[in-house]
C-alpha cells in the first residue's frame, strides 16, 4: 500500500531526473518512419542539463531541457534544478547542446507546483520551439525526446491518453517508456509542437507529462515588462506552494466530507477526487483483537527536494476491537496503538525543525476525543508547516479508534481549518 511514510521518491511515480549511480543498459526502441523524421528535425533543440557539486568535477545528476526562444531560454523540470535552488553556493548547472557545446546556466523562474523551471543558457541556440496551446485527442501519436540514463539523445514514441483525474493539477498520461534523465525534455506532437514536458513514470509504459500550456504560462511570465529573477528561489517556491494550496484545499472542503462507517464509528473519507483510498482488516486468529484500517491520501505531491514534498494529505483510521481482552488490557493495547510508531513524515534537519505537540481531551457533542496536534516548520520556507494530528476516541467498551491526519507543507491557517473539519466529522454511537 502506498503511504506517505517515507522519502519523497516513494510517494508516487518516480521522477525522471537521473541521480548518477550506475547506468544500466537501455533496450532498443522500435521507431516508425515518423519518429526518425521528428528526431532529425527537432533533436538539435533539446539539451542535456548537468548538475555538479562545486568541489567535485563529476556531475551529481542530470536531466534534459529544450530551447523555447532565440535568446537561449530553456524549459526543464523544477526537480532537475532543485539542488541548485536549495544550495546555489554548492551546486552548479550547465547545458550541453546537441552540438556538444557546454554552456553556463542562469535560473530565471520556477513553477514548483507544476514542476517546471525556466533557465537561460549563456549562448543563443541555433533552433528553438515556439510554445503554443495545442489540442490533442486520445490516441494521438507523441514523440518524447531526452537523455535517458546519459546514453545520448533518444526518442521514444508513444500515445496521448488524456489528462489524469487523480492528481492535484492536470497531467498528461503518456503511454510510452520515459526513463531517468529524460526529465525536462519535450514530448512533441507529429507536427513538431510541444505537447508536454517529461516529468515522471510509473514504469510499464505509464508515464506523465506536464501540459505545454503550463510551460507557456511560465515563459510568458518571464517576458512581462519589469520581470527580474528573484533572489531566493527557495522562498519563491514556498510562496508558490502557499498560493496554490489555498485553491486546492478549498476544493477539498467546499462540500461536506463523505464518510465511511467502520464498526460504530463514522469517519471522514475521500475528501476530493484526487484522493485514493484503501481499506484492510487484520483478524488473525492468534491475536485476541481485530483491527480494521482505512486510509486515504492524495496521489500526487509537489516535489521540493529529494527529501521534501508539499501538498500531501493523508487520512488514516484504525478501528480496534476485542471481545477477549479485559478493559485494562484493551486500553493498554489501545494506548500502544495511539502512541503509534514512527512519525508519518520523513524529514531531516536541513529542511525542517523538530516537531512541537499539543495534546488535549476535546469534548464534543459527538463524544470526547483525545487529540494531539504536532507541527514543524519548513526551515527555509516561511509559512509552510508539516502537521500531524492524531486522535483517539474515548468511547465506552472494548472498541477504540486511532485516527491520523497528515498534512505536508501547509500554512498554519490551512492546517487549523483542515484539522477542524477532520475532527468535527468523526462520530460514533455509544
Amino acid at each position: 500500500m502506498t503511504s506517505i511514510t517515507s522519502r519523497v521518491p516513494r510517494l508516487a511515480s518516480a521522477l525522471l531526473a537521473l541521480v548518477l549511480c550506475g547506468a544500466p543498459s537501455l533496450s532498443a526502441q522500435e521507431l516508425s518512419p515518423g519518429s526518425a523524421s521528428v528526431f532529425r528535425q527537432f533533436g538539435n533543440r533539446v539539451v542535456k542539463i548537468e548538475i555538479s557539486e562545486n568541489g567535485s568535477a563529476a556531475k551529481a545528476s542530470l536531466g534534459s531541457g529544450f530551447y523555447v526562444s532565440p535568446d537561449g531560454d530553456v524549459i526543464t523540470n523544477y526537480h532537475v534544478m532543485s539542488q541548485v535552488v536549495h544550495d546555489p553556493d554548492r551546486y552548479d548547472a550547465r547545458i550541453i547542446t546537441a552540438a556538444g557545446d557546454t554552456l553556463g546556466v542562469t535560473l530565471l523562474a520556477i513553477d514548483v507546483v507544476h514542476d517546471l523551471a525556466l533557465v537561460r543558457s549563456s549562448a543563443p541556440p541555433a533552433a528553438w520551439f515556439t510554445l503554443r496551446d495545442i489540442a490533442l485527442e486520445q490516441g494521438d501519436r507523441l514523440f518524447s525526446l531526452g537523455h535517458p540514463k546519459d546514453l545520448g539523445l533518444s526518442i521514444v514514441e508513444g500515445t496521448y491518453n488524456g489528462l489524469l483525474r487523480h492528481t492535484l493539477y492536470p497531467k498528461i498520461h503518456f503511454t510510452g517508456s520515459l526513463n531517468p534523465g529524460m526529465s525536462g525534455g519535450p514530448t512533441l506532437s507529429a507536427s513538431g509542437d510541444v505537447a508536454g514536458i517529461n516529468v515522471s513514470t510509473e514504469g510499464n509504459q505509464v508515464s506523465f507529462l506536464v501540459p505545454a500550456s503550463e510551460a507557456l504560462a511560465l515563459f510568458e511570465r518571464s517576458r512581462k515588462p519589469g520581470f527580474a529573477p528573484v533572489d531566493d528561489f527557495l522562498a519563491e517556491a514556498g510562496r508558490q506552494i502557499l498560493a496554490y494550496q489555498d485553491e486546492y484545499l478549498d476544493l477539498v472542503f467546499r462540500k461536506p466530507i463523505p464518510t465511511v462507517r467502520i464498526g460504530r464509528f463514522t469517519l471522514p473519507t475521500e475528501p476530493a477526487s484526487f484522493f485514493k483510498c484503501w481499506a484492510d482488516a487484520d483478524r488473525s486468529p492468534d491475536q485476541p483483537y481485530e483491527t480494521v484500517s482505512h486510509q486515504c491520501s492524495t496521489d500526487d505531491y509537489v516535489y521540493l527536494s529529494e527529501d521534501q514534498a508539499a501538498g500531501t494529505i493523508e487520512l488514516s483510521h484504525e478501528v480496534l476491537s476485542s471481545t477477549e481482552l479485559g478493559r485494562f488490557r484493551f486500553y493498554a493495547l489501545y494506548a500502544r496503538e495511539f502512541a503509534g510508531g514512527d512519525a508519518p513524515l520523513w524529514g531531516d534537519k536541513e529542511n525542517v525543525t523538530s516537531y512541537r505537540c499539543v495534546t488535549r481531551n476535546i469534548a464534543r457533542k459527538a463524544g470526547t476525543l483525545r487529540a494531539a496536534f504536532c507541527a514543524r516548520r519548513f526551515r527555509r520556507m516561511e509559512g509552510l508547516y508539516d502537521v500531524v494530528v492524531r486522535a483517539a476516541a474515548l468511547a465506552r467498551g472494548s472498541e477504540g479508534l486511532v485516527t491520523t491526519l497528515t498534512l505536508a507543507g501547509v500554512s498554519f491557517e490551512n492546517a487549523e481549518r483542515v484539522t477542524r473539519r477532520f475532527l468535527e466529522s468523526i462520530t460514533w454511537t455509544e
Partner: protein, 339 residues
C-alpha cells in the same frame, strides 16, 4: 585470679539464647542441673564439657567424653580440647557457645532517631518477604496488562524475575558494603527496601499516567513526575544508608539527595552531548486509560486549535535559530547529502 568472661549461648542459627557472666573457673557445662552453664539441647550430654584457664591463663574447653563432642566454631573439626580467644566460639551438639572477655570492644551505638522508617518497616523477615513478594506481584500484574498474545503468564513471570534479579544485584552490593563497614550484611532487608522503592516508583508512574490522561495541559506536571521519582529514590538510598552507616537522618538525606542530583546531572549531560538539535519524532501525551474518561479535563475544539496556534511563534523562532546555526557552520562541515 580475678578473670571475668561472658559466655553467650546461641542456637544453631546463632540467635542469642542467654548470656552468663563467669568469675570462677572451672565452669561445668551440660544438660544436668548441677552444671554452672545449663544447656537445653538434647544433643548435649548431662556433663558435656568444662571451661578452665590453662597454664598460660588462656580460656580453654575440654570434652568430658560426650556423645557428640566439641567442635571448633560452627563447622570446625571435633577436638577433645580447644583454646578460645575472646570472641571465639565452640559448638556442643546444636548449641554454640561464644566466649568474650568482659573488656571485649563493641560497635558504637546507633542512635534511635537515626534509623530509617523505611528500613524499620521491613526489619523483620516476615515484613521483608511481604514487601518483596508484593513488589513482584505488582511487576507481574503490570507486565500482564501489556501482553496480548499467548504465553502471557510465562512472560509476566519472566518480567518479574528479571526485576528481582536486578534488585538482588543492587541489594547484594549494599550487603557487601554493610559487611565491610563491620555490621550485618542484611541482604534481605536491603532487598525488601529496593523492592518497596520499585513498587512505589511503579505506582507513582501509573498515578502520573492517570494524571496525564485526566489533565494533559496541567502546568508543571513533568516536574511533579520527576520530583516523585526522585523522592522515592532518595528515600530508598537513605534507608540503605541507615543500615550500613551511623549517619544522622539529616546527613543521610543530604547524602542521598546529593547522589540523586549527581545522577540527574550525569543523565542530563549524557543527553545533551548525545542530542542532535533535530528530532524527527512526534512527542505527544499518548496516555489512554480505561476508566474516568467522563471526569477527565476537557476543552472545546476551538480551544484546542487556539492552543495549537500558540506553538507557531515557537516553531518560527526555532526555524530561525536553526538557520542561523547552519549559516555559522563552514560549508565543508555540513553534512553531505549528495548522491
Amino acid at each position: 585470679m580475678d578473670r571475668v568472661i561472658i559466655v553467650e549461648v546461641r542456637d544453631r542459627r546463632l540467635r542469642l539464647l542467654a548470656r552468663q557472666r563467669v568469675e570462677q573457673f572451672p565452669v561445668r557445662i551440660g544438660r544436668a542441673y548441677d552444671n554452672d552453664v545449663i544447656l537445653d539441647d538434647r544433643h548435649v550430654d548431662a556433663h558435656h564439657a568444662v571451661l578452665y584457664l590453662d597454664d598460660d591463663g588462656v580460656v580453654a574447653i575440654e570434652d568430658l567424653g560426650s556423645v557428640n563432642g566439641i567442635r571448633d566454631g560452627m563447622r570446625g573439626a571435633l577436638s577433645p580440647r580447644l583454646r578460645l580467644a575472646s570472641g571465639g566460639s565452640v559448638r556442643l551438639g546444636e548449641t554454640v557457645l561464644r566466649v568474650l572477655d568482659a573488656g571485649h570492644s563493641v560497635a558504637r551505638a546507633v542512635p534511635l532517631a537515626h534509623e530509617s522508617r523505611l528500613a524499620r518497616l521491613v526489619r523483620t523477615p516476615g515484613a521483608a518477604w511481604i514487601a518483596i513478594g508484593g513488589s513482584m506481584l505488582l511487576s507481574m500484574l503490570m507486565a500482564s496488562f501489556r501482553l496480548f498474545d499467548g504465553e502471557r503468564a510465562i512472560a509476566a513471570v519472566s518480567a518479574a524475575m528479571l526485576v528481582l534479579a536486578l534488585l538482588c544485584v543492587w541489594a547484594g552490593i549494599w550487603a557487601i558494603v554493610g559487611r565491610a563497614q563491620g555490621g550485618r550484611a542484611g541482604f534481605l532487608t536491603h532487598l525488601a527496601i529496593a523492592s518497596l522503592a520499585t513498587a512505589a516508583g511503579t505506582l507513582w508512574v501509573a498515578a502520573t499516567g492517570y494524571l496525564e490522561f485526566f489533565w494533559p495541559d496541567l502546568p508543571g506536571r513533568s516536574v511533579l513526575e520527576s520530583a516523585g521519582t526522585c523522592a522515592v529514590f532518595i528515600a530508598a538510598l537513605s534507608a540503605h544508608l541507615s543500615l550500613v552507616s551511623t549517619l544522622s537522618r539529616t546527613r543521610r538525606l543530604l547524602t542521598a539527595g546529593a547522589v540523586t542530583l549527581g545522577l540527574i546531572a550525569l543523565v542530563t549531560v549524557g543527553e545533551l552531548s548525545d542530542r542532535s538539535d533535530f528530532d524527527a519524532g512526534l512527542h505527544y501525551s499518548d496516555e489512554l486509560r480505561p476508566v474516568g474518561a467522563s471526569i477527565a479535563h476537557t476543552v472545546t475544539l476551538e480551544n484546542f486549535l487556539s492552543d495549537a496556534t500558540r506553538m507557531r511563534p515557537e516553531l518560527d523562532s526555532l526555524a530561525q535559530a536553526d538557520n542561523a546555526a547552519t549559516a555559522s557552520v563552514p560549508r565543508e562541515h555540513r553534512s553531505e547529502t549528495g548522491p
